[in-house]
């Protein structure tokens, strides 16, 4: 095995009130993929920020090819060949794709002038490598789907021609298909001798991709760095959470009841085309598909964000018209959106305020907010969902991803919905919180709630769903029951592999 390209020895970092990293040692070798695991808050982000130069360590030393270095800022880090794809998308909405990729290191002419032509060419070339040829490099990023934005992020890191590439959950927003492509790229980079630090919450990826794995917990390395070939999922989970989880997808079989939600020939623009499906009490229906297949858009149509242009929605058998989220809420529909930070949370407001937001009207007494009632409500859900927060008055921006997601869930559960639409409910959430949310979903379904779960994570779809709907190009192309739903079947339907597709459509009675 080759020598470490970069090595951290005894790194410590303290933030007010938190020891984020405590004497962490970590190294990456040329031509390896080194997975970094840990729950949210374990210190992964801090570690990579120290690597890139975004943060400075309080103690310890960094060695680059055996020589001690200091990385005073990210610019310096980039010069040393250390690039990162951060978990938070960090794009400039009004600038073009090409410029987003090359900001900070534009291909230049003399005098610091930007060479636009070369920049766009190179951007196209990089995107080509990512198999994203359809992305117009001169259009602004605003309006791109999350998946495409993620590709721009990856292209951005690749554009640095980095020797050390840090990827913080690069696949969180990608579907199976995209993930495969990304893996191909990562492997290609590895062959070229790039050292990759790979952070993920998807354990299977570790085994598919990584050579070695390091687990962080509470700012320390758990045990030592392991060879992937010598460990197991169970062991990694135990290392991460400090206990054993019974099972990843604790699915309890449902007893579906009445039809609660029925959608007929629903249309909106080019993204929702003649969609038909039903949702029964007490069942969890998984909605699978590639990014851009129109799943979130469908949810938004049902929820009234972008009201349907034609078609029919029935709730409890009654045809209804849903023109806004408020009307959807009044009908007992709740929607936990995909983009937690932009669509779900008021980051600068506290847990209590976020939890009560959707049911504020019910907490009013003579027009004024009944604080005691609000407190009771928030407390109830904080306890029920085990939201870990120092107080109800904590700003949610300070919570971990999993707890933030629970706050969004709490907000919607407080509305006592009959239909709960969950859009990527566990994206970017650590294993522990994920299992908790899955258990919660089961419990809710048991109580008779109808759940529509959009997910790009196949194991989650397969593990949690009583039924699976597959969307492609704005419409539902397959409906599979739990027994039928295999990885192959779903992927085939999602990608439109012809034969499978035909079979599946034939075997399910979707079209009226």
């Amino acid at each position: 095995m080759s020598e470490p390209v970069i090595e951290l020895r005894g790194i410590s970092k303290r933030f007010p009130g938190v020891q984020a990293l405590d004497n962490v040692s970590f190294d990456v070798r040329e031509g390896e993929v080194h997975a970094l695991l840990g729950e949210n808050g374990a210190g992964k982000s801090t570690l990579i920020k120290i690597l890139t130069g975004a943060y400075q360590a309080d103690g310890g030393q960094i060695f680059l090819r055996g020589k001690p270095v200091t990385i005073p800022d990210t610019r310096h880090g980039l010069k040393l060949g250390i690039a990162a794809i951060y978990q938070e998308l960090s794009l400039y909405p009004d600038l073009s794709v090409a410029e987003n990729i090359f900001m900070g290191h534009h291909p230049s002419l003399r005098g610091g002038l930007v060479n636009w032509r070369q920049m766009e060419q190179r951007a196209r070339a990089i995107l080509h490598e990512l198999d994203a040829d359809d992305l117009d490099v001169s259009r602004p990023v605003r309006g791109l789907s999350v998946g495409n934005q993620q590709r721009v992020e990856i292209a951005k890191a690749l554009s640095h021609d980095a020797r050390i590439l840090i990827m913080d959950e690069p696949t969180a927003a990608l579907t199976k298909h995209d993930v495969d492509q990304l893996f191909a790229i990562v492997r290609r980079l590895r062959e070229r001798g790039v050292a990759v630090v790979y952070i993920t919450h998807r354990l299977e990826e570790v085994f598919l991709l990584a050579d070695r794995v390091t687990v962080l917990r509470d700012g320390r390395v758990v045990g030592e760095t392991l060879d992937v070939s010598k460990t197991s999922q169970a062991e990694l989970i135990r290392m991460m959470v400090g206990r054993t989880l019974d099972t990843l997808f604790p699915k309890t079989p449902a007893q579906p009841g009445e039809v609660v939600l029925e959608v007929r020939n629903l249309c909106y623009g080019r993204t929702t085309r003649k969609v038909n499906f039903i949702l029964r009490q007490g069942e969890i229906v998984g909605l699978a598909g590639l990014v851009g297949a129109g799943r979130s858009e469908l949810a938004q149509v049902i929820f009234g964000v972008t009201p349907a242009e034609s078609g029919e929605i029935r709730v409890n058998g009654r045809p209804v018209s849903i023109r806004s989220p408020r009307e959807a809420m009044a009908l007992g529909i709740a929607y936990v959106p995909e983009d937690r930070k932009n669509q779900g949370l008021l980051l600068r407001m506290n847990v209590r305020e976020n939890t009560a937001l959707a049911v504020l009207r019910q907490l009013l007494r003579y027009g004024f907010i009944d604080y005691a009632a609000e407190d009771r409500l928030a407390k109830e859900y904080v306890e029920q969902l085990q939201i870990r927060t120092p107080s109800l008055l904590q700003q949610v921006v300070n919570l971990s991803g999993g707890n933030q997601q629970k706050v969004v869930l709490a907000k919607w559960l407080a509305t006592k919905p009959k239909v709960l639409i969950l859009d990527e409910p566990t994206r970017g959430i650590d294993v522990g919180a994920k299992a908790e949310i899955h258990r919660l979903m089961n419990a809710l379904a048991q109580q008779g709630m109808a759940i529509l779960m959009i997910s790009s994570e196949l194991p989650e779809i397969l593990g949690m769903s009583d039924r699976v709907l597959v969307m492609r190009q704005g419409t539902i192309v397959a409906e599979l029951d739990r027994a039928q739903a295999t990885q192959e079947a779903v992927v085939a339907a999602a990608m439109g592999a012809d034969e499978l597709h035909m079979t599946l459509v034939a075997s399910t009675s979707l079209n009226p």
């Binding site: 600068r348 407001m349 305020e353 027009g367 907010i369 971990s400």
Partner: protein, 322 residues
């Protein structure tokens, strides 16, 4: 963030002095103490009550402006709306011969209309607030000149002066009105669902919409409210100065915004309070008043206020970051 056991009790009282309002209050106290040492005429009930007459119109506009800025918007047209409303008061009374109470109603409705147009443009047509109100700033001012043909209405009956010059007990009439409205605005913002919605929209409009908040209606209401307050301010102003001028309150929007931002309301929306705004306004007004009483000239006062504005915000930042 590491997981901690939830402690669910709010421990608010300890932090009061660390809040924006706490810091501003201390700054205000310091200013009052210094000024009262410099001039014996400053810290008298008479002087302070008198100041409330002078600041009422600004304060009335600052109340809705606080809400609007918290909600992520801005209203630059308030001064023009005030002038237009005042002109309509004079116009409908003097030229159309309406009875005075009806003319006052016209004045309030004019303000409401001006605000509603802003609200409609911003909430439903989705013109960015700054641009929409920059345009209506010119338009409403133009209406004031056009309708009045730049002539002022005057000769209001004496009883009309009650609202701008009269007293209720020892208090100036408009001060009483103002206090009632401050309390109302404070309760509206901090205690009602509507107020919470305003914060939510300023914090994250998309999330607010996804949470079933009628974002458009809230925004529309805010601007309409701002217009209505401008109408009310116009009425009180007219009563105070006994005439209606097309160029009344020119540039008042800057004074109003200065008070709001000094009061700690984030110009980017999402945070702020009515109490803060009123403290900000009190700081500016008392500083101007006190400096003048101690014999500092207007141009120098101007400079001092600029410096205080910057320093107050700086101190506030420093104290709260700690």
């Amino acid at each position: 963030m590491t997981a901690r056991t939830p402690t669910l009790s709010p421990a608010r009282h300890v932090r009061v002095l660390r809040t924006q309002e706490g810091v501003l209050f201390i700054i205000l106290l310091v200013i009052i103490v210094v000024l009262s040492l410099l001039s014996d005429r400053f810290l008298t009930a008479n002087n302070l009550l008198n100041q409330t007459r002078l600041l009422t119109e600004t304060a009335l506009l600052a109340l809705p402006m606080t809400l609007i800025i918290i909600g992520g918007g801005i209203d630059l047209s308030v001064g023009s709306t005030l002038a237009w409303s005042a002109v309509m008061l004079g116009f409908s009374w003097q030229l159309l011969g309406l009875p005075l109470p009806l003319a006052v109603l016209v004045c309030l409705l004019t303000g409401l209309l001006g605000g509603a147009v802003n609200g409609y443009l911003i909430a439903y047509v989705r013109v960015p607030p700054l641009i929409a109100t920059l345009a209506t700033l010119a338009i409403y001012r133009g209406f004031s000149f056009g309708i009045s043909q730049a002539r002022s209405a005057r000769g209001f009956p004496e009883e009309f002066a009650f609202w701008g010059q009269g007293q209720i007990g020892p208090f100036p009439t408009q001060f009483v009105v103002l206090v009632v409205l401050i309390v109302a605005a404070h309760l509206l913002l901090s205690r009602t669902g509507f107020g919470r919605w305003v914060y939510a929209i300023g914090n994250n409009e998309v999330a607010a919409r996804y949470s079933g908040i009628p974002v458009e209606r809230v925004k529309f209401t805010l601007y309409a409210l701002s217009g209505l307050m401008a109408g009310l301010a116009a009425f009180i102003f007219t009563s105070r100065v006994t005439t209606t001028r097309a160029d009344a309150a020119t540039g008042l929007e800057l004074d109003v915004i200065a008070a709001v931002v000094l009061g700690g309301t984030s110009i980017f929306g999402g945070s702020g309070s009515v109490v803060g705004t009123m403290l900000g306004l009190a700081i500016i007004t008392l500083l101007r008043n006190g400096l003048l009483l101690t014999g500092v000239k207007g141009d120098a006062t101007f400079m001092v206020i600029g410096v205080v504005l910057i320093i107050a915000v700086l101190i506030n930042d420093l104290v709260r970051k700690r």
